[in-house]
C-alpha cells in the first residue's frame, strides 16, 4: 500500500466522520465532485447529508461553521484555495478566534486551506497565509509536511476544542507518499527534528521541509551536517525544540515559502535571538519568497520561492560565517 498526502487528508476526514457524529464537511464542490483536489472524494456518498456543497460565500461558510460549533458540532470547512480564505478573514480572526476568550464557549472548527505555490498557478492560487492567522490570538495554525502528519494532525485538529487553520500544501498532494497511515504521532505543538546534524539548523515547515532536506543532502556532500527542524505547527511554535537544535549547531537558517515581511521565519529568528542568543555562533539568517505577488509563469515562479539550490547557497554562506 502506498498513500499520498492528499489521500491521507481524505482518510483523516473519513475517519473523523465515521468516529464522531458531530463532524461534517462544508465547502465549495466538496460533495458530488469531491472537492477541487478530490480531498473529499467519495465522502458524500459514504456519509450522506454530512458533506455539503456551499455557495461561493466564504464569509458565510465560516460563519455557519462557527454557529454549528457553538451548538456542539465539529465542522470542517474546505476553502477551495487558501487564497480565498481572504473572504472569510473577518469571520476567522474576529468571530471564530475571539469566541472562546470572549464568552467561554469553545469554537471547534477546522478550516482547511490548500496552500502554497505550484507552477502556473499565479498570485491567487498559491498563497501561504499561515502568518496572517498566526498573528491573531485564538487560532491554532498547522502546516503538515508529511503524509503521516497530514493524517494525524488533521484528526487531532478536528478533535481540538479550538479553531484550527490547517494549511495543506498543494505541491505535496500527489507527489508525497507513505507506506501506511500512522497509528501514533507527535502531538500538535511539537516540532520534529527530521534530520540531525551539527553544523547548522534549518527551521522550516510545510513543503520547504523537502527543499531543505534536499539542500541538507547537498551540504552533506560538501561535508556539512545540517539539522532540519520541521515546525509542524506555526502557532504555537515549539521554541524549545528549535532552541535545542540551535544549541547543538550554533547556526540558524529559517526557511519559509511565504512573503518575507513578518512571517514564520521572522518569528522564529526573533525567538531564537531573544531566548537563545548565546547559542548562536553567527547571525541567524532567513530565506523567504520574494516580496512580490507569486508569479504565474514557471520561469518566474521558480525564482520567487526558496528552492533546494537557494537554500544550499544560503547554507554555504552560513557555515562559513
Amino acid at each position: 500500500m502506498s498513500i499520498t498526502y492528499l489521500a491521507a487528508i481524505r482518510e483523516a476526514q473519513a475517519k473523523a466522520l465515521a468516529d464522531d457524529p458531530r463532524v461534517f464537511i462544508y465547502g465549495q464542490d466538496v460533495a458530488t465532485f469531491g472537492g477541487a483536489f478530490k480531498a473529499t472524494k467519495g465522502l458524500s456518498e459514504a456519509f450522506p447529508g454530512r458533506v455539503m456543497d456551499a455557495p461561493i460565500s466564504e464569509d458565510a461558510m465560516v460563519g455557519m461553521a462557527i454557529g454549528a460549533a457553538i451548538e456542539g458540532m465539529r465542522p470542517i470547512v474546505e476553502m477551495q484555495f487558501a487564497d480565498f480564505s481572504s473572504i472569510a478573514f473577518n469571520q476567522i480572526v474576529n468571530q471564530a478566534a475571539t469566541l472562546y476568550w470572549r464568552t467561554g464557549t469553545p469554537c471547534p472548527i477546522t478550516v482547511r486551506l490548500p496552500s502554497g505555490g505550484t507552477a502556473g498557478s499565479g498570485p491567487f492560487h498559491s498563497q501561504s497565509m499561515e502568518a496572517l492567522y498566526a498573528h491573531y490570538p485564538g487560532l491554532v495554525v498547522l502546516t503538515p509536511a508529511t503524509v503521516e502528519d497530514a493524517y494525524s494532525m488533521l484528526l487531532e485538529a478536528i478533535a481540538l476544542p479550538d479553531p484550527v487553520i490547517f494549511c495543506e500544501h498543494k505541491l505535496l498532494y500527489y507527489h508525497l507518499k507513505a507506506e501506511s497511515l500512522p497509528v501514533e504521532n507527535l502531538p500538535i505543538g511539537e516540532a520534529r527534528v527530521v534530520r540531525s546534524g551539527q553544523h547548522a539548523t534549518i527551521v522550516t515547515y510545510s513543503a520547504m521541509v523537502h527543499e531543505s532536506l534536499k539542500a541538507a543532502g547537498m551540504m552533506a556532500e560538501d561535508g556539512y551536517h545540517i539539522e532540519v527542524v520541521d515546525l509542524r505547527s506555526v502557532k504555537p511554535i515549539d521554541t524549545d525544540t528549535v532552541l535545542a537544535s540551535v544549541a547543538r549547531t550554533g547556526r540558524l537558517l529559517a526557511v519559509g515559502e511565504a512573503f518575507p515581511w513578518g512571517g514564520v521565519t521572522s518569528e522564529v529568528i526573533a525567538r531564537v535571538a531573544a531566548e537563545g542568543f548565546d547559542l548562536l555562533d553567527c547571525p541567524p539568517r532567513r530565506l523567504n519568497a520574494r516580496d512580490t505577488p507569486i508569479p504565474y509563469h514557471p520561469n518566474l515562479w521558480k525564482a520567487h520561492r526558496p528552492t533546494a539550490d537557494t537554500i544550499y547557497s544560503a547554507l554555504t554562506n552560513l557555515v562559513r560565517l
Partner: protein, 334 residues
C-alpha cells in the same frame, strides 16, 4: 393568525418598558460620567419591533435570538437575565463576558444568545449555522432570529448569509429594523431600492413589512413570521420601519436627523403608541401603567445596584488564554 391578546400585549409592553427604563438609567449614568464602561447605544424607538420578536421565541424550544445593538427589549423578552446588561455596562467581572468584552456584545452562546461582534452582518450566518447544527443533530424544530439595521443590509456578510440560509431552507427570521439612519447616513446613501423587503424575493425568502412603532402590528407580524419559519422551515425577512429616537450612541446629538422624520408615523415613540393602545382597548388603566413602571424601575434599581457593588475584573488573576486547549497557549513576549 390569532388576534393579539391583551395578555401578550401587556407582557410585551412590560418588556419594552423595562428596556427603556434600564437604558434611560444607563444613559444618564453615561452622561454623568464615571460609572459606565465603554460606549452606550440605545434601542430607543425600536422596543416594539425588538420585543415583539423576542416574545415569540422560546428558549425551551431551543430558539436562538441573535440580537444586535438596539435589541435590549428583545433580549430581555427572550429571557436574558437583567443582570447581564447591568453587569456589562457597569463593568462587573461577573458579567457574562467577564470584562473581556461588553455592553452590546454580551451574550450567552450556548443558551441561545450568541454574542455579536462589531462587524455588522456577520452574525446572520452564525445564527444560521446554529440552526443547521440543530437540524443535523436531529433537535426538535426551532427558530433562530437575527437582527440587523438598514445599514447592515449593505454588508457582504448579510448577503452571503441570507442566500445561504435560503439555500439550506433554515428556519431563520431576519428582523431588519429600518430606523432610517446608519449612524449619520440616511437611507438614500445606503440603498436604492424602494423598500428593503424587495430583497426577499431575490433570496427566495418570504418578506414581511410592518410599522415598527406599532406594537400590535409587530406582534402580529412576528407571530406570522415565526410560525412560518417553524412550519415551512424557510427563512422569513421582516422589515420594520421606525426611527432611531436617540443619537447613534449617547455621544452623538444626531444633529443630522431630518426633523420631518420625527413628525411622520414612523417617528412615533413605540412606548407611547403601545400605552395609548392598551388604554384605549381597556387592557389596562393609567394606574396599571404606573404600577408596571414602578416595578420596572425597582427591578432596574436592584440589578444596577447589585452590579455596581461587584468589582471590575482583576488583571492579576486574568488567565490571558485565548484557547480552550490550554496546552497550546503561548506566552508571547520575549
Amino acid at each position: 393568525m390569532s388576534p393579539v391578546t391583551a395578555e401578550k400585549f401587556i407582557t410585551t409592553y412590560r418588556w419594552m418598558l423595562l428596556a427603556r427604563i434600564l437604558e434611560d438609567r444607563i444613559a444618564s449614568l453615561y452622561r454623568a460620567g464615571g460609572a459606565i464602561v465603554g460606549g452606550v447605544y440605545l434601542g430607543r424607538g425600536q422596543e416594539a419591533f425588538s420585543a415583539a420578536l423576542g416574545v415569540h421565541l422560546s428558549r425551551e424550544r431551543g430558539d436562538v435570538f441573535g440580537g444586535l445593538i438596539r435589541d435590549m427589549a428583545g433580549r430581555l423578552a427572550f429571557g436574558e437575565p437583567l443582570l447581564d446588561p447591568a453587569r456589562s455596562y457597569l463593568g462587573s467581572a461577573k458579567g457574562p463576558m467577564r470584562g473581556r468584552d461588553g455592553n452590546i456584545h454580551r451574550g450567552r452562546p450556548t443558551e441561545g444568545l450568541p454574542a455579536m461582534i462589531s462587524h455588522l452582518g456577520s452574525l446572520v450566518s452564525v445564527v444560521s449555522g446554529m440552526l443547521l447544527a440543530k437540524r443535523l443533530k436531529g433537535d426538535p424544530p426551532c427558530v433562530g432570529a437575527s437582527c440587523v439595521g438598514d445599514g447592515a443590509t449593505s454588508t457582504g456578510a448579510f448577503h452571503e448569509a441570507m442566500n445561504t440560509a435560503a439555500i439550506e431552507r433554515l428556519p431563520l427570521v431576519v428582523a431588519v429594523a429600518n430606523n432610517q439612519y446608519a449612524y449619520s447616513t440616511p437611507t438614500s446613501r445606503q440603498y436604492a431600492c424602494e423598500n428593503l423587503v424587495d430583497r426577499a424575493k431575490g433570496y427566495g425568502v418570504t418578506g414581511h413589512v410592518v410599522d415598527g412603532t406599532d406594537l400590535e402590528a409587530c406582534l402580529d407580524i412576528f407571530e406570522r413570521a415565526v410560525t412560518a419559519a417553524l412550519e415551512t422551515q424557510t427563512p422569513q425577512m421582516v422589515v420594520g420601519k421606525l426611527l432611531r429616537l436617540s443619537g447613534h450612541g449617547e455621544h452623538d446629538d444626531a444633529f443630522y436627523v431630518d426633523p420631518h422624520l420625527r413628525e411622520e408615523s414612523s417617528g412615533r415613540d413605540p412606548l407611547t403608541v403601545a400605552e395609548t393602545h392598551l388604554l384605549e382597548k381597556g387592557w389596562g388603566t393609567p394606574s396599571d401603567v404606573d404600577a408596571w413602571t414602578a416595578d420596572a424601575v425597582e427591578r432596574v434599581r436592584e440589578a444596577m445596584t447589585q452590579a455596581q457593588r461587584e468589582g471590575g475584573p482583576d488583571a492579576a488573576v486574568e488567565t490571558w488564554e485565548a484557547l480552550a486547549s490550554r496546552h497550546l497557549v503561548e506566552g508571547g513576549n520575549a
